[in-house]
């Protein structure tokens, strides 16, 4: 990488950030969507996963259990399940990763837009190396996604009392690396698909299961085995686990998982997809 390539990386980061700032609707939609998840799922299921709502008055009289004891046991059960925090804290800390995850695929869409609107040609004909151009683009998008996640984390401070402020930078680092990797995946896919419809279909097919089999909404431990197996191959799982660890100090993963391993797996995943995106963009020509 020479001076000009660095210049090119900087220029693409600049472009992605400028576009982001100028499209307010995108900022709103990216923040509002997780917010809806948090409110609808968090408050809805949060109430179910809480012992306070157990109504003992309707129980038949032969059931002789101390209601307070029961509530204690149930409450203990749920907090253990969610790693020692209430459901809304559990959900919102996973949502921080999910926001960046969903945003990562928007990069792929923007590559397809650039193909349709011709800006891609402008970058293809530039003397800066293609690798630096696409890497700059990925970095720019990963930065934006991390900013979105930061907004969710700041929001979580209002909703939950068990967030560790000092863990925020570390959690964001996990999220950033994860987002860079999925941005690479999104761009790699977008270079293969020239139609928006085809790309959207693949992305929808991909994001939905990855989202649910990652531990964002419910813990890995209670998943059926087949689901656990898939979750193990899902990079998002490690971002959720690692960032939740730094934000709340809880360990909600499987027994072998730990924050360092999370970091290692995420780094490998991201390196691989960065290289794939670079190679595909290097080969891109007007013919496909």
């Amino acid at each position: 990488m020479d001076d000009r390539d660095l210049n090119a990386v900087a220029s693409m980061i600049y472009r992605q950030l400028k576009r982001w700032i100028s499209s307010r609707s995108r900022i709103v939609s990216v923040i509002v969507q997780p917010l809806l998840w948090i409110i609808l799922l968090g408050l809805g299921f949060g109430a179910i996963f809480s012992a306070q709502n157990i109504d003992t008055s309707t129980w038949p009289s032969f059931v002789k259990i101390n209601p307070e004891l029961l509530k204690n046991i149930v409450s203990k059960y749920f907090t253990t399940l969610f790693g020692g925090v209430d459901y809304i804290t559990y959900l919102i800390t996973g949502m921080a990763s999910m926001t960046a995850f969903m945003g990562s695929f928007i990069s792929g869409i923007s590559v397809i837009w650039d193909k349709q609107f011709g800006f891609l040609k402008e970058t293809l004909v530039a003397p800066a190396s293609r690798r630096s151009i696409i890497f700059g683009r990925m970095l720019g998008d990963a930065i934006i996604n991390t900013i979105h996640s930061t907004a969710i984390i700041l929001l979580s401070l209002l909703v939950s009392g068990s967030i560790n402020i000092w863990g925020i930078p570390a959690a964001l680092a996990y999220i950033f690396i994860m987002s860079l990797g999925f941005t690479g995946l999104g761009i790699a896919l977008s270079l293969r698909f020239s139609s928006m419809e085809g790309f959207q279909m693949i992305v929808n097919l991909l994001t939905m299961p990855l989202m649910f089999m990652s531990g964002v909404f419910y813990p890995l431990k209670t998943m059926p085995d087949w689901m656990k197996t898939i979750a193990l191959f899902n990079p998002l799982t490690y971002a959720v686990h690692g960032s939740r660890y730094w934000l709340t100090g809880t360990d909600t993963g499987l027994s072998f998982m730990n924050p360092l391993l999370d970091l290692a797996i995420l780094s490998i995943f991201t390196t691989i997809f960065t290289i794939i995106a670079m190679i595909l963009f290097d080969r891109a020509s007007l013919e496909d």
């Binding site: 001076d3 000009r4 210049n7 090119a8 900087a10 220029s11 693409m12 600049y14 472009r15 400028k18 576009r19 100028s22 499209s23 349709q116 609107f117 011709g118 800006f119 891609l120 040609k121 402008e122 970058t123 293809l124 004909v125 530039a126 003397p127 800066a128 190396s129 151009i133 020509s285 007007l286 013919e287």
Partner: protein, 331 residues
């Protein structure tokens, strides 16, 4: 490295897309400070040719050099030397005019104060300075084209490539862009390669023209040289009857030949003078004249002479419809 007087050298260039031959063995050179025009109808292979020169497509066979660098093996060097304005817009509509310029400059290794000054100078050149901080989304077609021209000049290219620079623009904007092109040649000694399907544009701007049709160069020369192929006037007749014997009767004609079914071209020195006589000969030979026209030769007549088709007719083929369809789809 090849000869330095010639900024572009194209040797036996062939480009196939699957089984379609887009460019069929063409060769030409462009000298420094020339405005070289590739003239031809849509689908003639002009855009494919310049995409190869601009390193965006690889040739199937043949060699192309820009400033002595091979476009395949030394594509990075070639990219430094050229500025290109594509036929379809390639601006980022979400960004301001200034940012579009700024990002381009950065991609070409420019920086800081120098870059800023250059941007302002060029925006001034294309009379867009007051719109520098306006988003391109709000620009008219002509403004976008002007901005693209300014952007392509930012890194001081040795060769400026313009692909149909005035397509879809109103007459005033066309004239304005023509002025910029002339000025670039005059003030900046720029070498320009332009493609167009407007014969007036080629005639107006180009110092040398290659006429392309179906992937081949069918004629090349200065506008005057090309028009000299048809000295005097050209009379076009659509008629019914024995064409060959009719042609033989026209003693005043320098040339008389069939260019399409029922259609002949008669080259004469002075059409208005000989037309009455021509009608008489037709009458006495039992030839029915259905249509007649005569023209002072322009490049259109040269194209007609060479292909039997009018350049104008070929413009109305499918590509226009396709473009309209795409626009509807993607805007």
């Amino acid at each position: 490295m090849k000869l330095m007087d010639e900024i572009v050298v194209v040797e036996n260039l062939v480009k196939n897309f699957k089984d379609i031959v887009a460019v069929d063995n063409i060769s030409f050179t462009i000298g420094r400070r020339e405005i070289f025009g590739l003239l031809g109808p849509n689908g003639a292979g002009k855009t494919t040719t310049i995409h190869i020169i601009a390193t965006l497509l690889k040739p199937t066979s043949g060699r192309v050099f820009v400033s002595g660098y091979n476009v395949v093996e030394e594509s990075k060097r070639v990219r430094e030397k050229i500025g290109i304005v594509f036929q379809d817009p390639s601006l980022d509509n979400q960004l301001t005019a200034y940012d579009n310029m700024y990002i381009h400059g950065k991609l070409y290794g420019l920086k800081g104060r120098e870059l800023h000054d250059k941007i302002m100078e060029l925006l001034d050149f294309v009379e867009l300075k007051q719109f520098a901080s306006k988003k391109v989304r709000y620009f008219s077609g002509g403004m976008r084209r002007r901005l693209e021209i300014a952007r392509s000049l930012l890194h001081e290219p040795e060769l400026l490539i313009l692909d149909e620079p005035t397509i879809g623009l109103d007459p005033q904007t066309r004239a304005r862009i023509w002025n910029y092109i002339r000025e670039l040649r005059r003030e900046y000694d720029m070498t320009i390669l332009l493609t167009t399907h407007y014969m007036d544009e080629a005639e107006e701007l180009a110092s040398r023209i290659a006429i392309m049709d179906h992937g081949k160069i069918i004629a090349m020369g200065t506008p005057d040289e090309l028009k000299a192929m048809l000295r005097g006037d050209a009379i076009y007749l659509v008629l019914r009857g024995d064409i060959d014997s009719f042609c033989r009767e026209l003693s005043f004609a320098r040339e008389c030949r069939k260019i399409a079914e029922n259609r002949i071209e008669v080259l004469v020195d002075n059409a208005p003078k000989v037309l009455p006589e021509l009608f008489n000969i037709a009458l006495s030979n039992n030839v029915v004249i259905q249509e007649v026209s005569y023209r002072r030769p322009t490049l259109n007549e040269v194209f007609l002479h060479l292909t039997g088709r009018e350049l104008r007719e070929t413009i109305e083929e499918t590509p226009v419809i396709r473009r309209a369809y795409m626009r509807r789809h993607w805007r």
